[in-house]
């Protein structure tokens, strides 16, 4: 196993270059998988026995929901890294992830409501998953609000890291508590996934879309972190020597 010098890329200057080389590839992959997934999901997959054509929302709803959780975990990961190794890049990565995660959490709620209305007759249901997703959205907003409110970069990064970690620990607790509450109330017991009874095409469509969204996220976050690096390292010599900055 070739030993990669991870700490080489912990330096913003080096990561800037790496991210710059990587994001276009991910963008291409995202586009390709998105087109393939949409084709499978909207052109090939048959209509559902119970839900007719309306079920096709899952090809968007499920990927954004998954990503909203994956991104939060990634934020927690970078936060732990940042507090442990005290690297500037960790704070930048966490900050670059947040807006996309928040967007996906919002879209999860939005598409979920639009799926729920025709299927269960209501825009909203206090089921464990929905409620947890709502709270996850608040966690994102909290992180963004906190880091935006603190002017000092270092303090902002570290405070954000702490809230990200505390929030990450809290997510399973919230899910568990709401599930418990929900079973007591015997709320709408809906199953949002179709499990193994799903036609293979549908499954493949969802998988392709999930990957598409994942590639999209990686590409966008790498792109965004480059902007952050430029902003924060603007006084460094290497920035002045970049081609794109020469007047």
């Amino acid at each position: 196993m070739k030993s990669i010098n991870w700490f080489h890329y912990a330096a913003p200057q080096n990561f800037y270059g790496l991210a710059g080389r990587m994001w276009p590839g991910f963008a291409v992959l995202a586009t390709a998988f998105m087109l393939a997934g949409l084709w499978l999901g909207f052109a090939v997959a048959p209509s559902d026995f119970q839900q007719g054509e309306g079920y096709r929302i899952i090809f968007v709803h499920v990927p954004v929901s998954w990503m909203s959780m994956v991104v939060y975990l990634a934020m927690a990961f970078w936060s732990v890294l940042g507090l442990t190794f005290n690297t500037r890049l960790s704070g930048m990565m966490t900050r670059a992830l947040a807006p996309t995660g928040a967007l996906f959490a919002f879209l999860s709620l939005w598409t979920g409501a639009l799926w729920g209305k025709p299927m269960w007759g209501t825009w909203w249901v206090w089921d464990a998953r929905l409620t947890s997703e709502l709270i996850l959205f608040f966690l994102y907003l909290g992180y963004i609000a906190l880091t935006s409110a603190i002017d000092d970069t270092r303090r902002s990064d570290r405070a954000g890291a702490l809230i990200a970690i505390v929030g990450a620990i809290n997510v399973p607790i919230i899910y568990f508590s709401v599930k418990w509450w929900n079973t007591l109330h015997q709320g709408a017991s809906v199953s949002l996934t179709k499990g193994s009874s799903m036609a293979e095409v549908m499954l493949w469509g969802m998988l392709l879309m999930a990957l598409a969204f994942w590639f999209y996220t990686v590409a966008l976050v790498l792109y965004r972190v480059r902007t952050l690096i430029l902003q924060r390292e603007s006084h460094a010599t290497w920035v002045h020597q970049l081609d794109e900055v020469k007047p």
């Binding site: 090939v44 309306g54 096709r56 939005w110 902007t227 020469k246 007047p247």
Partner: protein, 63 residues
């Protein structure tokens, strides 16, 4: 191919509002997100270019 005509496709078996409401908003917000990221990046580059231009002027022109 599932659909027999474009109008069938857009109608989505009566669920048009919900399906296209979801897919549409998702697509829209993602496009906006990408635009915003590009705009922000360009803004920072322009800022840096301007700073460089100033830095390269002969010293007495800074005043």
């Amino acid at each position: 191919m599932r659909w027999e005509s474009w109008s069938q496709f857009w109608a989505m078996g009566g669920y048009a509002v919900y399906v296209w409401g979801s897919v549409g908003v998702t697509a829209l917000l993602m496009v906006l997100e990408v635009w915003q990221a590009r705009w922000a990046h360009r803004a920072v580059l322009n800022q840096l270019k301007a700073e460089q231009a100033v830095a390269q002027l002969p010293v007495d022109e800074w005043k």
